[in-house]
């Protein structure tokens, strides 16, 4: 990348920008005219009742939805100022820039070490990173997610043997060595107990600033605690997008108020 390009990218205010985004699963329309500007470097939460299209939106940002084959997308999605649906865009580069964390922790059935270094190995060109390089990367990633002290003596044991909370932290950690700019998290705490939820939330909060984080949650308290901006969706449409505090104190729309007060499922 040359310097002009870098200047341009540092001037981008919005990590994710969508314009008239419509999405269909076959003939069923799941997203309607979604126009969003998600600010860089902050945590934005995405709330709304089950089935309103939160996961669909996340999955169209990193284009993982396409794997299904019967998905049609119209409109514009820009990530860090670049249209991800552009013809000359390499999907692998998109995925590298955008890390995703799923509802159920999904560590690979290999060692903790190998999980963390997996992405890095995929993207390191030509030369294989030396063992000591790898060790540094692994330690840094695990420290970042506050997991290092728990697992440093058993890096070679299976990641699938960890507790769910540890697994979810690991799934976040393994994204970091690839140096993504955006992290998409789809209900990352919903499989965890309250203690695990708190720990993972804390960790997500710590990652703020370095990464743009878009987090889907069902937990109003969590959205309120852990995000700076909040988007409310209903039946495939964005109803409201404001600062979190404002949304919870003075929601503009009746639907938002109803949802926040628990009048939807």
């Amino acid at each position: 990348m040359n310097t002009t390009a870098e200047n341009v990218s540092s001037q981008i205010d919005y990590a994710i920008h969508t314009d008239a985004l419509n999405l269909w699963y076959g003939t069923f329309q799941a997203l309607f005219d979604v126009n969003l500007d998600i600010k860089q470097g902050i945590i934005t939460s995405l709330i709304g009742p089950s089935g309103c299209g939160k996961s669909t939106f996340l999955r169209s940002v990193n284009r993982i939805n396409e794997r299904l084959g019967y998905v049609r997308t119209e409109g514009l999605i820009e990530v860090m100022g670049q249209n991800v649906y552009n013809e000359n865009v390499e999907l692998i580069q998109v995925r590298k820039q955008i890390g995703m964390v799923f509802q159920r922790p999904n560590p690979l059935p290999i060692s903790i070490r190998d999980n963390i270094i997996f992405g890095h190995k995929l993207h390191s060109e030509g030369r294989k990173p030396s063992i000591s390089e790898q060790d540094d990367i692994i330690e840094a990633a695990l420290r970042k997610v506050l997991l290092w002290d728990q697992v440093k003596d058993r890096l070679n044991s299976k990641a699938t043997e960890l507790s769910l909370e540890e697994q979810q932290k690991l799934c976040i950690a393994r994204l970091l060595p690839v140096k993504p700019s955006v992290l998409l998290m789809d209900e990352p705490c919903s499989a965890l107990d309250p203690k695990g939820t708190e720990a993972v939330e804390e960790l997500i909060w710590d990652l703020r600033g370095e990464y743009t984080i878009l987090i889907v949650t069902h937990n109003m308290a969590q959205a309120r605690r852990a995000s700076e901006e909040c988007i409310f969706m209903l039946m495939g449409k964005v109803i409201e997008h404001t600062a979190t505090e404002a949304m919870f104190v003075t929601p503009e729309h009746k639907e938002t108020a109803d949802y926040i007060e628990g009048r939807y499922g």
Partner: protein
């Protein structure tokens, strides 16, 4: 309050009845296997010796050993596996990991299932037409093994495909999300977790291949050959055909000889199966998710 009631008693009696019924069915299932093995060992066990295994038949196949047939079967199975495993696993990978879900894929899948039901004599005739005559391999190990390979391919493909699809989708998504290509995903995550299932397919294939007679009869197996095959272009004797020959085609064969041949044939299958099953269990123990 907690005493047993009449209704409880009746229900428990019914439950007991069904349990016994199911046990009987299971025993009925294994009874033939036990009887067959028992008879073979009883009638043919005495003839088995190192000499029997490692010398050629003599006196118009009424005496001597079975070495050329044993040797030939090992050859036939090995070459068949060498062809069908790579081809079958590759096809399974394509169908499970790459193929779009469209009518063509569905037709291919249907064809594979139907192929598994084609009688072996039909495969034999196909083998004669394709490998012996068209490709000019003659009646040879190569022609016979290729026929066996084609016959067992569906088993390998179906078993491999099923074990590939048993690998949780979450693993694939995790890989794709980190920017792995499909091949990297298959190579690093899907295949290592599917090996034990793929082995099941191979085990099934080995058992079937070892015992098959019809497909090799016209394509490469000979009644009697006084020498061992030197290359895949030679004909060979084979255990299954030899068993058929000594039990029905040659006069004056002592009773225990066919039983001995059958025992060796079954023994080979059981041995190979046990080794593969042991290996599979080892692999299973290695994986946890």
């Amino acid at each position: 309050m907690f005493e047993i009631s009449e209704l409880n008693k009746r229900n428990q009696k019914t439950q007991k009845l069904f349990q016994i019924l199911f046990l009987m069915m299971t025993l009925m299932l294994i009874a033939p296997v036990v009887i067959i093995l028992g008879t073979l060992i009883y009638k043919g066990g005495a003839i088995i010796s190192v000499d029997f295994l490692f010398t050629a038949p003599t006196d118009g196949m009424t005496a001597g050993g079975i070495f050329p047939a044993l040797f030939g079967t090992v050859w036939l199975v090995a070459v068949a596996l060498l062809v069908s495993v790579p081809v079958g696993v590759a096809a399974a990978i394509y169908l499970s990991e790459y193929a779009p879900d469209n009518w063509l894929t569905r037709i291919i899948n249907l064809a594979i299932i139907n192929l598994a039901g084609v009688p072996s004599i039909v495969h034999a005739l196909f083998g004669v037409g394709a490998f012996v005559i068209f490709f000019k391999f003659g009646t040879s190990i190569l022609a016979a093994s290729l026929t066996l390979a084609i016959m067992t391919l569906p088993v390998v493909i179906v078993a491999s495909k099923e074990s590939l699809q048993a690998v949780p989708k979450a693993f694939r998504e995790a890989c794709w999300n980190m920017g792995a290509t499909r091949w990297q995903t298959i190579r690093r995550v899907v295949l290592p977790n599917a090996v034990s299932g793929i082995l099941t397919g191979v085990i099934l294939e080995v058992s079937r291949t070892t015992g098959e007679t019809a497909p090799i009869m016209f394509t490469g197996a000979a009644f009697f050959l006084p020498f061992l095959p030197q290359s895949v272009f030679d004909q060979t004797m084979a255990l299954s055909l030899h068993l058929f020959v000594v039990s029905t085609q040659v006069p004056g064969v002592p009773d225990e000889l066919p039983y001995g041949v059958a025992l060796v044939l079954i023994g080979m299958v059981l041995l190979m199966n046990s080794v593969s099953i042991a290996f599979r269990m080892y692999l299973r123990g290695q994986k946890k998710w």
